[in-house]
Amino acid sequence: MTKKADVVIIGGGITGAAVLYELAKYKLRIILVEQEPDLATGTTKANSAILHAGYDALPGSLKAQMNVAGNALYHKLKEELHLEIKWTGSLVVATNDEQLKILYDLKRRGERNGVPSLDIWDGKAVHQSQPNLSSEVLGALWAPTAGICWPFDLCLAFAENAVLNGAEIIRECRVTGFDVDSGTIRMVHTNKGNIETTCVVNAAGVHADDISSLAGDDTFRIFPRKGEYILFDQKVQNALVSIPVFPTPDKMGKGIMVAPTIHGNVFIGPNAQNMDDKDNTAFTNEGMNEIIEKAQTIVPCIPLTQAITEFAGIRAVSDTNDFILGPSLKVNGLFHAAGIQSPGLTAAPAIAQFLVKKIIDKLKPEYNTTWKAGRPRHIYFKNLDYDEQQNLIKENPSFGRVICRCETVTEGEIIDAIHRPVGARTVDGVKRRTRAGMGRCQGGFCGPRIIQILSRELHIPIPEVRKEMCHSYMYFEKKSTKKVICDD
């Protein structure tokens, strides 16, 4: 079956979702295609979850421009979309005079980029703020506009709002090719059928160059770079840091940081390894040792026994080392949002506005007059006060059944996560929307229960419930019953 769309967005990460959100403000038929069963399963799911202030990128680069603009946009979007963001500020610490000099360079660079209120703190002020930092820290660059966030929630928020405003998201939909006629896009081929369109946004993350090639544009390449992290139990936060702390950056990048997560855990990481395989998110012993060693230069006492999980993410590095944004030079109707590595999460809303401006210049659509801001609020039982909790349970008793004891997540929240716009279809999808299974037992207790709820609510048999990716089936039917007797 052939569908029709004014714009097709390829890739359901933060960039694709932000573009979808901006485009939904116009009277356009928009389809976002995502190859996995959920959004945010690529680079968006495994990164530092920092909304950067914007002092890192070179002045004049797209990264610098989009970072600072994106950071400012999130300050507004947080209210509209109830985003899980905490404006903590961040520190870059120096442990010798040479590094101190670099901090002043960074401050100047940040000011040129338009980052507000940067300040240099002396060692005393740093230790007053973060008492667990190494005694060798001599000073720090303070960036008050930085924040921490839940990237998955940001991505989902954009998508949920867009879907409520009429956009369509097709999941488990893999692009297999394009029809390009006299240099112009006409059709997108997918495993779920064709979509007739003249405008495609390439937000395919590490696969953006492959998608571009399929359409006949070979002008850039994406190199996957892996970053590994270790996540610690919530109870160690007092022993580590309460705001993100970076080392002084060097040629290799921003370095290995120590930072809180929005949910009260602490992580260390990431390292940076150039990879051949774009899907290699395996974490390694070497990587773990490297990040532990380097994190100890910031916080000497890392409570390694309190590690609850390790993970790795892939960043999409372009051959220009900057974002690649805007219309393809080869194919009419193809718009790139490629090479979106750090600070891509922060930059996403600005990237979206930048690209959407170019798309509406081309398509000249009317405004979507029925467009509505916001999205349905998530209910987090744990964060409600006593009366709210009581009323909720009275209204819907499933909020009185705690499924995940580590994070106090109720059955009601899990059911909501499945049935809300762009709802969860997988165990990890439930986990990222509700935190069920993210705690210290990592789903040991609630895992089987969540599988049952997914099976019941989605009307699928248990063997069809998946963990995260397309083929990540979890349980199988037992050897069949009746037949067995006759078999042998």
Partner: protein, 422 residues
């Protein structure tokens, strides 16, 4: 906000909680409440369908569900004992006020004159043991898989590698084999197995399942679903030895890498935990350092046999009942029990002596397998108890009975020591 005051509020309706309730009832408590998070009582026993339970406590060999049912039958007709299932305890405080929630009552509060903590333990996970690799589907704790296989009727995969040779891992190796799956290997980082000999023989050797001692999984392969693992030999410090790696194709990895007492509620209430057992520090009556809060079973320390859980819960239930009725006083400790290096854990950690010649049972685990040992409990220089054993292993709990003797010497700490090769 407090609905009701109970003599004894018991957190958890597994074997520890059920036995504690019965014991509290036998010792005169009139209002006893069990709070259980699952839809029925019995706890983890309901998924442990194998036999081997109950020989000590019920003098008959039972399966896990059978043991749970025996425990339940002892209390189900007792009007003094109330059971609230489908109920999660959210909080306990030092005033012994318990906050809980369930779909029928919403959030409710109750106060116990005493409380018995019986929350059991949870399984260690892959993250906590830092296995490198992807995070594909097909990696489960042995207990989570056991629940799916034995209670829901689904299998986690067809070609299985089990990491860790604890009893749950061994039992699952047999279970999966009987379900028609192929268990490719059990991989154990220690140079010895961490399960009972009987389980080694009847779960592994019976089915020719290879056991790799002093080995660990160094990588897990597969992106969507597990495709295999890389296994390597480890040195004396449990570090993988480069060059010893080999691959095993499998679609499932089950983790049986240890249990941790479940003490988030205890910590929040302000109860002091033992950094070695990860459970509350208790005296011989299983009273914690918050007077009137007792603890029993795997929440105190991980037991090898449920019969010992019940033995401990009888003590906790009894003293919780007596204390609720004002029939005993005294707190955590008069003196401590000190242990030598070869002893891993010893519960109780403290002794509160209130009468002469009290018989006190110490539950001990050793750090390494030893043969022909003598375990000695001393009060200063005086030997209180001696026990000879032909062999001891870290996986098997040792119980040593001690007569507390005469009260006059009660202010001396006790020491427990072990000597090998006698």
């Amino acid at each position: 906000m407090i609905k009701q005051i109970y003599d004894v509020v018991i957190i958890g309706g597994g074997p520890a909680g059920l036995t504690a309730a019965y014991s509290a009832w036998k010792n005169g408590a009139k209002e006893i409440l069990i709070l259980e998070r699952d839809w029925e009582v019995g706890g983890i026993l309901q998924q442990c369908i194998h036999n081997g339970f109950g020989i000590h406590h019920f003098h008959e060999e039972l399966t896990g569900p059978g043991y749970a049912q025996r425990c339940y039958e002892l209390i189900k007709e007792k009007k003094e004992i109330e059971i609230s299932c489908d109920t999660m305890v959210l909080k306990i405080n030092a005033d012994k006020i318990v906050t809980a929630v369930n779909p029928h009552n919403g959030i409710f509060h109750m106060q116990g004159r005493t409380i018995v903590l019986a929350m059991g333990c949870r399984e260690r996970t892959r993250g906590a043991i830092q296995t490198p690799g992807y995070r594909p589907a097909g990696i489960y704790t042995a207990g989570a898989a056991q629940r799916m296989v034995n209670m829901e009727g689904y299998i986690p995969g067809k070609n299985i590698v089990i990491l860790g040779s604890g009893d749950i891992g061994l039992i699952m190796a047999r279970r999966m084999t009987l379900e028609g799956c192929r268990v490719q290997a059990v991989v154990e980082i220690c140079p010895y197995s961490n399960g009972l000999t009987r389980n080694m023989v009847q779960c592994l050797y019976d089915y020719n399942i290879p056991l790799y001692l002093s080995h660990t999984i160094v990588a897990i392969h597969g992106k969507d679903r597990v495709k295999g693992i890389t296994c390597a030999k480890v040195d004396a410090y449990k570090k993988p030895i480069p060059g010893t790696e080999f691959d095993i194709a499998c679609d499932t990895v089950l983790l049986s890498v240890g249990l941790i007492p479940e003490n988030e509620l205890s910590s929040e209430a302000g109860i002091t935990l033992d950094p070695i057992t990860h459970g509350p520090i208790v005296n011989q009556h299983r009273e914690t350092d918050i007077p009137g809060i007792f603890a029993a079973g795997n929440v105190v320390h991980v037991h090898d046999m449920v019969d010992f859980v019940s033995e401990e819960a009888e003590i906790a239930g009894k003293y919780a009942a007596l204390k609720a009725q004002g029939r005993v006083t005294g707190g955590l400790a008069d003196l401590k029990i000190r242990t030598d290096n070869d002893i891993g854990t010893c519960v109780p950690q403290h002794i509160c002596i209130q009468k002469n010649n009290e018989i006190i049972t110490l539950f001990i685990r050793v750090r390494r397998p030893m043969k022909h040992v003598q375990i000695t409990v001393r009060n200063s220089e005086e030997v209180l108890s001696e026990k000879h054993m032909s062999a001891v292993r870290p996986s098997e709990m040792i119980s040593v009975s001690v007569n507390s003797g005469n009260m006059k010497s009660r202010y001396e700490d006790w020491t427990v020591s072990i000597r090998e090769g006698l």
